[in-house]
Each structure stands twice: as C-alpha cells, then as structure tokens.
Amino acid sequence: MALELFLDGDPIADTKAPTDVPIGERWSERKFRGKLVNPANRRKLTIIVVGTGLAGGSAAATLAEAGYHVKSFWFQDSPRRAHSIAAQGGINAAKNYRNDGDSVHRLFYDTVKGGDFRSRENNVHRLAEISTQIIDQCVAQGVPFAREYGGLLDNRSFGGAQVSRTFYARGQTGQQLLIGAYQAFERQVAAGTIETHSRTEMLDLVVVDGKARGIVVRDLVNGEVTTHLGDAVVLGTGGYSNVFYLSTNAKGSNTTATWRAHKRGALFANPSYTQIHPTCIPVSGDYQSKLTLMSESLRNDGRVWVPKERGDSRAPEDIPEDERDYYLERKYPAFGNLVPRDIASRQAKNVCDEGRGVGPNGLGVYLDFTEAIQRLGRKAVEAKYGNLFDMYARITGEDPYASGMRIYPAVHYTMGGLWVDYDLQSTIPGLFVIGEANFSDHGANRLGASALMQGLADGYFVLPNTITDYLAAGPFEKVPADHPAVVEAEAGVHAQVEKFLSINGSRTVASFHRELGKLVWDYCGMERSAESLRKALDRIPEIRKEFWTDVKVAGTATDFNQNLEHAARVADFIELAELMCIDALHREESCGGHFRVESQTPEGEALRDDENFAYVAAWGWTPEGEPPILHKEALEYEYVHLAQRSYK
C-alpha cells in the first residue's frame, strides 16, 4: 500500500533544541547559543510578516520594537479582525495564583499527555515556561482579564485541567488578547516601523537560492499582483479548518499561504490532525455557512445528556431524570463533563449514531444548566455565561435558560501545519511559521486555552529571539525585481487568476466547497477508517478535475472580487484535503483527534501504536498525480512517560 500512496523520504530531525542540557534549561540555552543582530543593523533587515492574528500581530509588533523593518500583510480590512478575535474561553498560564498545585512542569505534563504523546517535549516545555510572561505582558498592555473583588486576576479550570490556570476575559478572551496585540502593532505603525498592507492576500512564496526571500500578493481591492522582498518571511496565517466548509473558523480562514509555501518546498506536518470541538450549535439547514462555537467553559457547569431511549422526541423538560443518560458522567466518573475535547466529541457522535441524538436531524445532545441554575441561581449563571446564552438564543431562537442548549461537535482547530524546528523555521531557510499555521506544540490533540498561549508565545517571545540566529548572516544580497524566481512566481499567480475567469463553467465555487467539505467531514472527520479514507481519495481527484473544468467565477481580475478570492482558496483546500486523507490513511493508529476505527481499545477509546507511529509525519510536495514524500521526525519522551491516556 505504501508504494502507491506515498514515497518514503529521509527522516528529519529538529536539531536546534539543545538536548545536551536538562529540559528546563534548553530554552535559555538556545537563546544563548543563537547569534544576535547588532541593533544598528536591524533597520537594514526587512522581515515580511503575513497575518495579524495573535501570532502574526504580536510578532510584527515585537520585531518592529526591536528595530527591524517589518512589512505586514493580511486579507481583512483591519489587522484587528484576524480570526483570533473569535476565541472565547481563555488562555493557560502556569502562574499557580490559586496555589492548587500548578507549575510549569504540570502544564508541560498536561499538554504532552493531552496531545496524546504526539508533540515535542522541548517545544511544550518552552511553551509552559513562557506562559507566565504572556500574562504579564498582556496585563501591562491593558488587556482587561477577569478580576476578583480584591483586584487580582481570576482563574478558571478549563478543557479537562484539574487546576485553575486559565485566564479569561468573559467569553471574549481572544478578542481582548488580539486587541492588545493590535494596539501594540498600531503603536509601531505610528512609529513608522511597520509598513501595512490590508486587504492583501499572499498567493506565493519567492524562494531564491534555497532561501525564502519574498512573497507574491494580490491587492484584493484593485487586483494588482505585486512582489514584496525581504530578508525573512514569517507566516502566521492561521489554521485550515475551513477545508471542511462548515467549521467554527471565520469564513476567510484558509490554507493558501501555507499550502503555497508547501508547494515551494516547506514540509507539511500531520495534516490530518484536526480538532473537533464538542460544544457547537448544531447545523440547522443546507444554507448554513458556518458553525458557532459555544465556549467549552460551559461544560464547567452544564451537564451533557441524551434520552436513554432511541427516538425519544419529547421536549427536554418533559424527560424525567431517570430516563436521561448523562453519558460522560457515567463513562468517565473522574472527569465527567470535563473530559478532553476529542473524547467528548466522539462520545457525542456515538450516542447520535445509536439514534439517541436530539434536535430536528438527530445530530445533537443536550447541555443542561438546570442543576447549575438551582445551585448558583440564575443571576450567577447569567454573569458567567450571559453573552453565550444570548448568542445561542439569537442564533437558534430558543431560550437556553429554560430548555438548555443543543450542541454537536464541529471542526474547530487544526493541529497540523507547516513543519518547523525549535526555532520555528520551516524546511525552507528564512521561512518561519508561527501560531496555528505551524504544527509544533499540540501533538494530536490541543487542550483548551492553549492555542492562544502558543500564538502569543511564538509571536512575542520565541520568534523574536530565534529569528536573530538566521538574520545575523544578513542583510542578504538584494534580489532584483526581475529575478527569474520573482517573474515565475508572479506569472503563476496571473495565470491562475486568468484561468479561473476563463473556465466559465456551470457550478459556483461555494458548491464545490460544500461538496468537498461534506466529503472530508464524512470520511476524514471524527472517525476515519481505511475504507472511508479510500473512498475520499477516490473522489477528491474527481472533484479537483471538475472544479478546474466546471467552476464559474464571476467578475474581473482588476477589481474587488470576493468570488475570485474564494476560488483560489478552494483550489488549495482540494489539494490539501487529499494530503489530509493520505496522512490519515497512513497513520494506522488512533491518537488524540485522529480516531481510526480499526485501532481502539475494547472500551472504544483511541488506541495508540507507539512502536510504529511515535513520529511526526512531515510531507513533501510532489506535482499532481505523483505520491507525496513522507519524512519522519521521531518523537522521544524523556520526561513524560508514554502511557495510554485515561480520563476514567
């Protein structure tokens, strides 16, 4: 099987982490060993940063403060609108302000275990160390975290953690953190150290002499295609959950920047690791354009249940206690409703597959607050979750105080992404990847409140310290505007735009996107089997072909054309979907969010195969029709011992 699906490439290794010192010293040791850039030289170095989310925004601000010349690009109208704004629940930090036994080591341990032993110890430990600095930094910027009456910061426990280490800002933590980074960013814009390019989409990477030297972009307002050159390129372009069409991500979230860098030689790691979030508002109709997350924090007080009987269509209020199945509490007495996301999601799917799902199409379970309202009073519940309840009521037209919520899992986060080393550098020298766009810290499953932590750790603290080692050799030789690499990349972008506008077929871009999304969800979603993945792999090339012969794109190349933007994104999603399925098919084990039906314990839990699969799968791109090349990075566990995850 291996022969036809993919080719084996050379193994790779992350050689930047100084493994000769104990794990707690590796980060400072790496900073010490890396070369520095003289402050006077920084002005002469241009760093291109794509993305203004928590990762890109914080990186651009920090690099600009350090004195580099930063060019920033994003596709929305304002840097403040990056998708990070939507994060609700919170951000982890090992502050141990609650004196409940938390520590850097415990956060490290929980994250490695939560990732189901498919992440790197070195990276995760660094993340846990930096987590405390992030909170300090954000508070200094004026991020209004929740506080207690004494004026000190409040914490809650979140996403399966047994300690209270999550800092939050009502249900809008991502917004507040992003606005903090955005303000730091705008401060540098005023200082003239960041040059901004709004409504500008990166469509290709310029690689010269093996180094990333620039990007080709399209101005989304007037369609102009230009190239921007610099000494290093940083991608903070977010995740690719929208490959599923329906996800909790913003409509514009895409893989285009990372995928095109992949096509230029950057390895793509673990593409099939996607996270399905257990608490989203269920789908209500065919026209549905996206799914809405209901923060996981709701599981702190809400109880998840379905009727014991299949097909019980009574209203939830009319179903007596003893006819309800609180299945999470029943199966996982220790963690109950707070089991990690992958487990909560799959259990919801299981009960719905058994025919016990609720709601119009049977794809939903109840999240019930009756007990919390009795225990805490409606006022307290309102204070904690008011905005989420309002949002639920607005979207569904139902009153969650009276009848609880109906929830169902939805795609939410992608742990996969471009492969990077400890310095966050991809396999193309000079191309750095941060935030959700890289694959680095979450393994096969991301714990709640750790993506915000990672994005900000990368942008504020890691990248600005590691990129210097690369830049110390710069400024690099100037790339002429008519360099063949530039000409070729620009021509490719033009050609693609023209191709789209000339096909003039019979189907809309959105219809292809919906079809692809449903296929990936059905066959490479919460549960995957060799059979389902094979089916998907049969169908995706057909969709790709139909897309390129039958799509209809409206408008012209030289003005604001959202349909054209969407077409380019869907084209990349189709290619990525194929790699996701190959990755999922080759990994014949279950781990975290990747659940292979063939690999489960007798109780139906994910069963890892550490002997054969304790590695990062980093894929090399090959042209259409040729199998991709698999490079393995072996994962070693020195500090957290490999064990079957158990949340019983």
Binding site: H197, E224, T227, H228
Partner: protein, 240 residues
Amino acid sequence: MGGVATVTTQQAGPRKAPKTGRFSSSVFKKSVMAVSGIIFVLYLIAHMVGNLKAFAGADTFNHYSEFLRELGEPILPRLTVLTIIRVVLLVAVAAHIWAAVSLWRQAKRARPIGYVTKKRVQQSYASRTMRWGGIILILFIIWHILDLTLGAVNPAGRDSLPYGRLVEGFQNPIVTIWYAVALVVLGFHIRHGVWSATQTLGHSNKRRERALNIFATAFAVVLIGGYLLIPFSVLFGIID
C-alpha cells in the same frame, strides 16, 4: 500592473495628518457651545424672573427696567453692569455660533452622500432640531431686541416705556403666536442643550443619565412655561 512594490504607504488610503491646533478639536468646539449655552441659560433664568414682574404692574416693571440700567450705581456709572452683561452675551453668541457653524460644516463633510432610507432608533426630536432651531432663535432674538428693547418694530414705538411695549405688542395675537413658536423652539433647544452640556463637559455617567434627562425636560418645561405666561396673560387681558 505587477512588479516589485516599492511604495511604502498604508495601503488603504493615504495617512491623514491629525489636526494639530488646540482650538480645532471638535470636543473643544463642543465645550465652547456648552459654556456659552450655560451662560444663555443663566441669563434666561434671570430674565424670566424679571419678566414675571409684569404681573406686579406697570410701575414695578418699568422700575425694574430702570433698575437694570442703574445696577451698580453709584459705585459704577449708569449702564455699566448692563453693558457688561450685553458684552458677555454678545461674545457668547458669537462663540456659540462660530462653534455651531464649524461643527455643522464638519458634519456635512462627514456624510457627503446620504442614505436612501434612514430611520431613527433613539435620537430625540430635540436633538435633531438643534441647528435649525438655533437659527430660528437668533432671528427671534434680533426681532425681540428690535421689538422690546429698542421698540423699533413695536406698535408702541421707540419712545414708549417697556411695560407699554410689552402690552401693546402681545395684544396682537400674531406677535404672541410668533413668540410662542420661538419659545417652544427654545424649549427644545434647551431640553437637549442641558443634557448635552453636562455630557460635553464630562459630568454625565450611566447612573446620572436618566436623572439628567428628566431634569433637562422638567427644567425646559418650567422655564418656557414661565416665559409663556406673560404673552398669553396679555393676550387674554390678565395683564393690561
């Protein structure tokens, strides 16, 4: 099209330089309106109280008029205090109009193209009529001074005494109605103005907001009610 970008501007439109003059700040202009507005209001309170002396008869009223002119005597020469009041009012009017016109022009620039359909959600009638209302008020005041201070447009003529001008003027229903209309306009202007001034000077907050609005309405009603008593009392012969 194409090529390596060399321009280094904020792509979405040129960066606009901030307005640097201290007096060009829209908030400063607003506070000029608020302060001059408050001066008007204080004057109006005093003026209303003075007007009510008409109920005490011609002599008291005329004497009151004379009193105004003699105020401060013998320390100060005749007309000094009144002149000071007049100068302050004139300066306030000039400042108020300057700020109003300047903000009006800014607002016009801020909405070069109007909506095809626009509904109001919360704004009061009073708040929407500040500008045209103000113009009516200025016209009224000019008329009013020509009428009652100078007697130029008053049926009693230039050489009459204030009480006479008052009575002869308001016996004409058209004059009374014109005054009433202007006073209602003034009432609206003040109703919004009082609330607005507290807000502009930074003394409103969530807790006070409701109380302030109620107060502003009550104040405007009492003030205008007080003013309206005179013309209608004359019209209906209560004062003659």
